[in-house]
């Protein structure tokens, strides 16, 4: 089975750390990057492709729901 590519969109660094830790424990998840707001993530998604997004709802400016 190929690995599932994922990114994290979360503005709180400590929460990012916990999530990244979990992801590293799951063998079939491959973390491509972390973004501290949805706008930065959008820039990434313009030229890259991902399978799974760990998305925070409360984000600066662009909310998770709106994203």
């Amino acid at each position: 089975m190929s690995e599932i590519k994922c990114i994290i969109v979360e503005d709180e660094p400590l929460a990012v750390k916990v999530l990244a830790d979990y992801i590293s424990q799951v063998p079939f998840l491959q973390l491509q990057g972390t973004f501290k707001d949805a706008i930065l993530a959008t820039d990434f998604l313009r030229h890259d492709h991902t399978d799974l997004i760990f998305l925070d709802i409360h984000l600066p400016k662009l909310k998770g729901m709106a994203f």
Partner: protein
């Protein structure tokens, strides 16, 4: 006067027609008439006086009770917004993350959280606390909020207080700090900051909070209004002379609170 006389006259003539009236008495002398009628007058004045007094008493009691209820409601509201479960949840998650890495700020953060909870449980029940206590809690609160954000967050907190023992109702200042983080820092993408200045001079308290903000969407200003109107209501119950104003600019939000502490109700 004319209307009054005419009114009583017509009532009486109606009574006479229906044979239902008291005869007009005639008195042999003026002093006799006076003595006789004075009794009724004085009696009436007393009766109405007593009724009015009772009425006032009831009204006053009612008002006092209303005020107490409002006061309690405000306090309850504040306690609710303060021990905000969301804040507790966030902080615990952050501490978990710190503890997982066995990082140094973990024990200190637990202690700060414990101090805040103790303050909420035991100190805020009273009417007043010393301003230094509110300051300490503010410091703990800021330190815990700081955990949530990265190093780009700049916090500046200074104070100039003539008397650290100055009595202050608990939880009066913290809601504004809370607002700064909730609606300011967490909404800012670039260079978030919070500037807090508290001064008490000549019994006049001045509290200025500036925070980064991105002005957009009306829904946000509505949310802020709820918190601010709560604070304003509480201030109205406590002080005669105060001023609370907010200013939303392009990328900055400023809240200014001024209280003449001598004008306490």
């Amino acid at each position: 006067m004319i209307l009054y006389s005419y009114g009583s006259y017509s009532w009486r003539s109606l009574g006479i027609q229906l044979h239902f009236y008291t005869e007009l008495k005639t008195y042999p002398a003026l002093d006799k008439a006076l003595v006789n009628q004075m009794g009724y007058s004085v009696g009436t004045v007393f009766l109405f006086g007593i009724i009015r007094h009772i009425h006032n008493c009831i009204k006053l009691k009612h008002q006092a009770q209303q005020l107490r209820i409002e006061n309690q409601a405000a306090e309850l509201n504040y306690l609710k917004s303060q021990t905000n479960p969301h804040f507790l949840f966030n902080t615990l998650n952050n501490i978990y993350s710190l503890a997982k890495d066995k990082s140094d700020p973990a024990p200190e953060s637990i202690l700060r959280l414990s101090k805040i909870l103790r303050f909420m449980l035991y100190e805020t029940g009273g009417e007043y606390i010393a301003i230094e206590q509110e300051l300490k809690i503010m410091n703990d609160y800021i330190a815990l909020e700081k955990l949530r954000y990265d190093d780009s967050l700049r916090i500046n907190f200074n104070h100039d207080i003539e008397d650290m023992k100055q009595a202050l109702p608990p939880l009066l200042l913290i809601p504004l700090v809370e607002n700064a983080f909730k609606h300011g820092v967490s909404e800012t993408r670039n260079n978030p900051f919070v500037d807090i200045h508290l001064s008490v001079n000549n019994r006049v308290l001045s509290f200025v909070i500036k925070n980064s903000a991105e002005a957009f969407a009306e829904e946000r200003s509505v949310k802020e209004n709820i918190g601010l109107s709560n604070l304003r209501r509480q201030l109205e119950l406590l002080y005669k002379d105060f001023n609370l104003s907010v200013l939303q600019e392009e990328s900055k939000f400023t809240a200014v609170l001024e209280i003449n502490l001598a004008s306490h109700v």
